[in-house]
């Protein structure tokens, strides 16, 4: 991973020297695939139930394709994106708590080429946010195992960033990287939990009915910053 990053940075340096002369050249690589790392800055203090930080690292994957050229410099692209963040911690000295959030969005990106390898862009996306929580008593004497619950909600993002692209290698492949900042807007989720189902179906069927418990509402809106690294072809 480290070697790949250094190679990319070196390539970008070479490209920048030659880039001024080729500012108008459009990169013929409509597909883009890669992964992302970054963070979100949530303001809902309810997330403190799941650990010491409200901003754990976010990782994800994305796939995009250019749709159309707009004028000489602009390009409209469509992408799909999945990312996840995981909160883990201790709750009240008695419970191991975990929340995993998955965000799946489809977005439109408008890129404006300033140099052939440098493209600032704006992106909007909409999709779904899926949250899955698990609360496990730490005491060995405690009965009943974990409480689990999950919930879907709407999520949308808007952000701006800048994308850089290297020259070709191995045929049509190019490295690409983008740094993007923006805001994720998510609707609140009412999180309800119930005992985790037993693996033994007969034992599960024999259990007494258990009423769900509402933990309250969670809102995972917040600013984000992400670094996308991938390939264009």
């Amino acid at each position: 991973m480290k070697a790949r990053m250094l190679a990319m940075v070196g390539a970008l340096g070479v490209m920048s020297a030659a880039g001024a002369a080729e500012a108008q050249r459009r990169v013929d690589a409509p597909w883009r695939i890669g992964f992302e790392v970054g963070g979100r800055w949530h303001h809902d203090s309810g997330l403190d139930a799941f650990g010491a930080t409200r901003s754990p690292p976010v990782t994800g994957l994305h796939l995009g394709r250019d749709l159309a050229a707009i004028g000489e410099r602009a390009t409209l692209a469509l992408d799909v994106n999945w990312n996840t963040e995981n909160f883990e911690g201790r709750l009240r000295d008695a419970i191991k708590s975990r929340l995993t959030a998955h965000t799946m969005t489809a977005g439109l990106t408008l890129r404006v080429r300033t140099l052939w390898w440098l493209e600032p862009y704006a992106r909007v996306a909409a999709g779904a946010l899926y949250s899955d929580i698990d609360l496990t008593p730490e005491s060995t004497s405690a009965q009943g195992g974990s409480l689990t619950g999950d919930e879907w909600t709407f999520a949308g993002t808007g952000g701006v960033g800048v994308q850089v692209t290297t020259g070709q290698f191995l045929g049509r492949l190019r490295f690409t990287a983008a740094l993007e900042g923006g805001y994720q807007l998510a609707l609140s989720q009412e999180m309800r939990v119930h005992p985790k189902a037993l693996s033994d179906e007969a034992a599960q069927a024999d259990r007494l009915p258990v009423a769900d418990t509402s933990l309250g509402t969670l809102n995972q809106s917040g600013g984000y910053l992400r670094l996308l690294i991938g390939l264009r072809f």
């Binding site: 309810g46 000295d93 609360l135 008593p137 005491s139 009965q143 007494l208 418990t213």
Partner: protein, 529 residues
Amino acid sequence: MRNPSLNRYLPLAVALAACADRDPRYARSMESLAPVAAGSALVYVQPALARATVVDLTQETPTVRQVAVGADPVVVSARVAHDEALVLSRGERGSQGVAPAPATLSAITANGAARRWTLGSPFNAVAQDAAGRYAITYYNNSASAGRLLFNPNEVAVVDLDRPSGAANPVIRTVRSFGGVPNGVVFSPTMTVAGEPRTLAVVLSDAYVTLLDLNHPERSEVTVRLTLPEDARAVAPAQVVFDTDNATMYLRADQSNDLYVLRLVTVTPENATANDFRPALNQLAAGVRPADLALFGEANARKLLVVSPGSRDARVIDTVANTTTVVPLDAVANRVLLFNGPSPRSPAPALRALLYATAGVASAVSFVELTDIESRRSQNVETLQLGRITNQALALPERGVVMFGHPTSAMGSLSLLDLGRRTAAPIFSEAALENARFDDDRQALWVAPQSGQRLGFIELTNFRPGEIRLDAPIVDVIPVARGMARRVVALHDAPDGWITVVDGTDVTRERSRSLRGFLLTGLLDEGEAQ
């Protein structure tokens, strides 16, 4: 993200991630005080969170509400004869960034409504009268004060029927002869100086203090039970009130005498003086008297006292001041008066059962109280149970007493029929001390420690039954009053786990569990700050 190496590529993200401090509420302990029933609800108190979680079982689906209580709650108890729970909080001493807060007493209903009285001092014990109107908060001798300075003889009298105000609670310092309160006993409504009133009796090592709850502005009355030069701590332990004759009888653990306090009418000297004064008398009551009961008409009141140290019972005529000693074949330390028939006389009459709960006797004594002074031991019938008795649950309204025995082949419980004077064994895996009556005493519920089965005995026909639940049971709390009988089994889970059993149809089909209710509203707590 679980791969730590990725963090090396995210210095910016990691730096920004450290922006918000964690809400400290999520790091506080969620330990609870033992829950109590408040009418149709179950009330849990979590001291570190200074809140009560009220599980209202009125509906088929329980409703969970959270109610703030004062800081540092130390006691939760059901309010006597009311559908409320009382929570005693010691308040906050104050520290850097934390403002001091006074001690409080909160009353919480099943629907989450709360009333609060400011006490001022961080008491750690509370006692209530039989009607549930008055509560006295005081310092329990055995608990730590947790304050730089405190007066262990300070008490607060709270009228629970009136809102908090300048005259409620009334803060008093009990006059001390060097001791501290060990407990508080309330009288039933008794006529003193021609006026019905309730008295609180504060028990200390060698003296008692009387507080007139109907006139809290009047000074308290302290009565020494020993001579000033006598350093003995006689430890008053039991008070029996003769409401018709304005008299109370005290038994002390370290004394062979009974103390008689007759409240004599006097003319008060001023507005804060009392209109009565106690006249103290002592009665010999054998060796180590352990229990006493009053019987007879108001103008011929008598005391029945059992004294295991001298293996006898004594009948004390409080009018004539005479004592009749009745030798017993079986040692007894408890008295139960009951009105019922006997094998020789189907006519109901006042009789007494004398029994032991200390594991020292395997027989009980029935005493015919009519003509007891003249017939003495001829009025005593001894019934062998065949096993040591160490626990007892009296059900005089059903004509039975349930005894607990050390586990044996003959069963660990027996049911004594007071009328027929027969004892039937019942096998039980649970001790009687863990048994709980229904609110209306229709059934007795037991759960063996760590067992998954909840047992019950219908007290109308003494038919036993049981139900298997999903987890070991740590306690049983019957809830009722204005609704179908329900029994709540508590399971060991830090997030809260109960099973609600229909007391009228004890089947798994009619049982429901509720899990995680102590986490209700967890995610909204930070926002609420």
